[in-house]
């Protein structure tokens, strides 16, 4: 009550016309009839609808999609590994057949065109071929004298390696 009196007194001092008007102004504003009857229902409906887990549902859906993606990726990777393994360990027979169909001249021409010195060194080292082997392409391993070979080896090999050889 004191607050109300203070407010009215303050207003009368500041703006007497406004203070008088205040006596007749309605304190409450009325909404359309029946508005408040359903307000709580409407608010609760909205609040609960937003609280209910459409988010959880979406999350489950997302998780489900994510799981599918994971499974798909795992399956694809497994398929890839299987395919590569099969190709490596069980190469297709048709490649042998197609090689078998090559003449010696064609095979030699292919090797000469694709082999390099490094490959030949490896083949020699593994004793898969011998120097002067007719299978080796002509001109790649030159016919060298023994001294020339030794001289070459002295140049490229370390002392320890030479001791092992000689």
């Amino acid at each position: 009550m004191k607050d109300r009196d203070d407010i009215q007194q303050e207003l009368e001092e500041l703006a007497p016309d406004l203070a008088r008007l205040r006596q007749s102004v309605p304190r409450e504003l009325a909404p359309p009839p029946g508005y408040f009857d359903s307000l709580a229902d409407r608010v609760l409906e909205q609040a609960m609808a937003e609280d209910k887990p459409p988010l959880n549902v979406v999350w489950h859906r997302r998780r489900s999609v994510r799981q599918w993606k994971t499974w798909l990726a795992v399956a694809a990777a497994a398929l890839l590994v299987l395919s590569v393994s099969l190709y490596v360990f069980y190469p297709p027979a048709h490649s042998e057949e197609s090689l078998a169909g090559l003449s010696d001249a064609e095979a030699r021409a292919y090797i000469e065109g694709n082999i390099d010195e490094f490959s030949i060194s490896l083949m020699l080292e593994a004793e898969l071929v011998q120097t002067g082997d007719p299978a080796l392409p002509a001109g790649i391993i030159p016919d060298l004298e023994e001294e020339e070979v030794e001289e070459y080896l002295y140049e490229i090999l370390e002392d320890e390696e030479l001791e092992e050889l000689f």
């Binding site: 607050d3 109300r4 203070d6 407010i7 207003l11 500041l14 703006a15 016309d17 406004l18 008007l21 205040r22 007749s24 102004v25 309605p26 304190r27 409450e28 504003l29 009325a30 909404p31 359309p32 508005y35 408040f36 307000l39 709580a40 409407r42 608010v43 609760l44 909205q46 609040a47 937003e50 609280d51």
Partner: protein, 187 residues
């Protein structure tokens, strides 16, 4: 005033909303207790019933979600009024932004303002008062409403609006002088 009358009701509301089983009942009690003062407060700010309905529903939804975290540091009605005033001011800011956008489209702005500020119910003098109030800045109008219509003390208003009593007094006095000057000019 309201707080004294509803003190026991506030206690009931807070006790009921703490439990999931009775939360809905507690919230219904809250709505039935505060819907009228909240509606009036919001309606005075946003003017139309449709806008007041939107803002009030948003306010009550926020109250429903936040009531579990209400610590009782302030009175329940102060807490609700704070939500309501924040919602109303946010709404007005958005409406102002829309109006400014409409200003860019020539001819749209005037139509928009007319639609946005329809007169409230009441006699001619009351309508003039309402019209004069629309010329106050939003926050000043809020202070005017809280003091002039809601009979709120500066102290309570300070808690509600997180503003000093001195600043609120200055704002209210300025608003009163301005509204009276507008009314005198129209008479």
């Amino acid at each position: 005033m309201q707080a004294i009358l509803t003190l026991s009701t506030d206690d009931q509301i807070l006790a009921l909303v703490q439990s999931a089983d009775t939360k809905e009942r507690g919230f219904r009690l809250l709505v039935s207790t505060y819907q009228q003062p909240l509606y009036t407060l919001i309606r005075r700010m946003v003017r139309t019933h449709e806008d007041a309905d939107d803002v009030l529903q948003e306010c009550l939804i926020k109250a429903y979600r936040g009531i579990g975290r209400f610590e009782g540091k302030s009175k329940l009605y102060t807490w609700l009024y704070r939500i309501a005033t924040n919602e109303a001011l946010t709404f007005l800011k958005k409406r102002q932004r829309r109006a400014e956008d409409a200003l860019e489209d020539e001819g749209q702005a005037g139509v928009y303002y007319l639609r946005a500020e329809p007169p409230l119910d009441g006699n001619d003098l009351q309508r003039k008062l309402e019209r004069a109030m629309t010329q106050l800045p939003d926050k000043q109008r809020l202070v005017f409403n809280l003091r002039y219509f809601e009979e709120m003390s500066y102290k309570e208003m300070g808690v509600l609006l997180q503003t000093s009593v001195g600043a609120l007094k200055a704002s209210y006095h300025h608003a009163v002088k301005k509204v009276e000057a507008i009314l005198k000019a129209e008479m």
